[in-house]
Symmetry: C2
Subunit: 437 residues, 2 copies
């Protein structure tokens, strides 16, 4: 099957494990079959490949997520990069053009569009496969949605009312985020939750793209992407389409958008260094720091800690986090890059100390800074530095001093860790010039 | 007045702000009149000096507290150092010999012995002055205690039963840690809490010291100190003394031994970077880390964080902390030294990164390590390094590499901060040899 995973979103609701650079789908808190931890995007990617080893997965995302995606899914993952953030219609238009012009997908091939972060089992992706097969048939609807059988009258989802109770039915109407009492009524009438999943033949989406804006092919659509209006595929396409069906899905489906729901999906009460005393009830700890968290006598509480900060919240109250996080103005304290990751250890008045991990055979961009010097101390692994063109083999204990203006990079010959001390009056992530080697 | 402050104790009950090197009396969480924060020992020291500017204060403590005391009270503070930990009788014996032989205090001078950490107002020290004056008179009791008028039937204090309700009365009997119901009865009978404060003429304590062990003067008592039995002044002297009085004190007195009681004494709900949402009730945060703590929807909770770890506890439950902290085996992650302080930023497999602050005109010992190299990067301030006898003036950005075996120190010419990366297979605080310059 051809599947486009939409990877969007910011990281406010799952602070401090998410931040401006790490959206919720990259937080590694789900136990894998092998016992390590994976993120939502890793889990979904693994599940699709397990259900359909032949699946062609394309991830539609913004530039600032590319490094994290490559870090978590490997560098060979197919990514359609949005030059800037727009809403879902431009994103799907661009991804469709990418499939057609870059990947050579035919106009009559079925395509599934799916968010990157549903918390589901493999039966969900079996359903997507069925949806794809259904869409491949001729004479069907222009677009078919996946409708989740609701488990409670939620006021935060969209509802789809099918005409019949069949597995696949024409859509009668839509209702976006009703009140709880209206939701109750909709459920009694047989409505389904809108999971944000839709299937169409590629040609259909291409036509909608051409209706939106005049372009020839993927590359010129990408060039004019910033001029596109921020409009949603749901409002502009789905709700205006008369030839539309919904396929119902009765299996497990969770939208893990808050700490409260995340903790419900955890296999064990704690991740990372944590101690719960015997008086704790319904307490979860997710600790990304290296120091221990001791919880005593708490009830219905989630504790979550990273280099970004520490959240201690009553579980239900945790869904109100956004307004508070909006007011915490903060540097990004950790990030995953395509070559590895870094974590801020210490922020001084005119200095910053960070720990940098590079994966074997990966390297940073060759770059320089205008306003800071850097001191690297290799603490683990082997590598090669290139400093203003001069190469050097480096080992633990080696110290490399990089003055401002000096071009530099490091290539990891094994997993490599270094401590970087940045020194300067105006230390900023934006003070970076890329150079070619 | 002559006053001996007993500074003992470990740091388990106020983890993570206390640790093996920082006992509770050094935690800086009390607002000073000037708006900064002071520790219990700083508060008591300041209060005594304010009530009696002529007071001679001697702090009796163990070796491992000397650096923290000098850091917090200044290097001119009078300290009587116990060569090893014994109970209060040996400690008071040694301190008395110190007063007599080192400070030249006369045998008929009154001496007050007081714990270093009562949370009280200045009226308490006025009472101690009165106690001193009373003791100076001839014909009084051999020893006079301070008795606190109880506010509730506590099972964790000792009780002193006076013969009369006068300000000063002969003691009728003692009762150590009664049950709550027994405590209630004792209070009804007019008993007072034992605050661990006693006054005597110096000669009295010297006689008790000579009864305990054969010695000539302070220096040889110190030399045989490790051979002394661990016995308490309360059991061995006070409870056996017939000529004993108690002076009652009705002012405020708090024993801040748990997070629950500490938070009651805080002027503001939070110290350090903390945000409480509007749903929080009776929540205190003490945050010694540089990252923010966000609390949402909590009730009766204390959150306390340092480089050592993070505690999140129901306030009442927090008094059971010790058994859990006993099981956290951990390096000391921060410490105050006579020259400044350090904090561990990162522990690697074969490395450790720490931030070191030196106060102006202070310096480390001249020392070397057998099993590790160190890399210093100066990030703030000016100093002089001496490396194997070679002097160098250092500024921010300077990097100093110190190989194992190499003797080194740094003298701060201003407040100075450096990042130290330690590298080696067996990094340990015990790997340190001192040298003379």
């Amino acid at each position: 099957m051809q599947i486009i995973l939409l990877s969007g979103g910011s990281g406010k609701r799952l602070w401090p494990l998410s931040n401006d650079l790490r959206s919720k789908q990259f937080i590694q808190i789900f136990k894998t079959p092998e016992g390590s931890y994976e993120s939502m995007i890793q889990r979904v990617y693994r599940q699709i490949q397990s259900v359909d080893p032949e699946a062609n997965i394309t991830i539609a995302t913004a530039k600032n997520q590319v490094a994290a995606i490559k870090n978590q899914l490997g560098s060979s993952v197919e990514i359609c990069v949005e030059p800037c953030r727009r809403d879902t219609l431009p994103a799907i238009a661009l991804a469709s053009a990418y499939l057609y012009d870059v990947l050579g997908v035919k106009e009559d091939e079925p395509v599934i569009v799916c968010p990157v972060d549903p918390f589901v089992n493999e039966d969900y992706f079996e359903a997507l496969k069925a949806l794809s097969n259904l869409t491949a048939q001729s004479g069907g609807s222009s677009i078919t949605l996946l409708g989740i059988e609701p488990t409670y009258p939620s006021a935060k989802y969209g509802y789809i009312k099918p005409q019949t109770k069949d597995l696949v039915s024409k859509v009668e109407s839509f209702k976006e985020k009703p009140s709880e009492s209206a939701a109750q009524k909709l459920i009694e009438q047989g409505s389904l939750w809108n999971a944000g999943v839709f299937a169409f033949k590629l040609g259909y989406a291409l036509k909608k793209a051409h209706d939106l804006v005049d372009f020839k092919e993927y590359w010129d659509l990408r060039d004019i992407y910033s001029t596109l209006p921020s409009v949603s595929f749901d409002y502009e396409v789905i709700e205006k389409e008369s030839n539309i069906s919904v396929m119902r899905f009765g299996g497990e489906w969770k939208d893990l958008g808050t700490w409260n729901t995340i903790t419900e999906a955890m296999d064990e009460p704690t991740i990372g260094k944590a101690i719960l005393d015997k008086r704790c009830k319904n307490v979860n700890v997710i600790n990304d720091l290296t120091i221990p968290i001791l919880c005593m006598g708490l009830k219905d509480v989630v504790v979550s800690a990273s280099a970004q900060g520490i959240l201690v919240s009553d579980k239900e109250t945790s869904s109100y986090i956004k307004e508070y996080v909006d007011n915490i103005s903060q540097e990004v304290m950790f990030a995953q890059k395509s070559w590895g990751e870094y974590r801020v250890l210490e922020v001084g008045e005119k200095s910053m100390t960070i720990r940098v991990n590079l994966h074997k055979d990966h390297q940073m961009n060759y770059h320089s800074h205008d306003n800071r010097n850097e001191v690297w101390t290799i603490i683990d692994g082997e590598g090669r530095t290139i400093i203003d063109g001069m190469e050097q083999h480096v080992h633990p204990g080696d110290v490399i001093t990089i003055l401002s203006g000096c071009k530099h990079t490091i290539i990891a010959l094994s997993e490599l860790t270094l401590i970087e001390v940045q020194l300067g009056d105006n230390i900023s992530v934006h003070d970076k010039k890329k150079h070619t080697l």
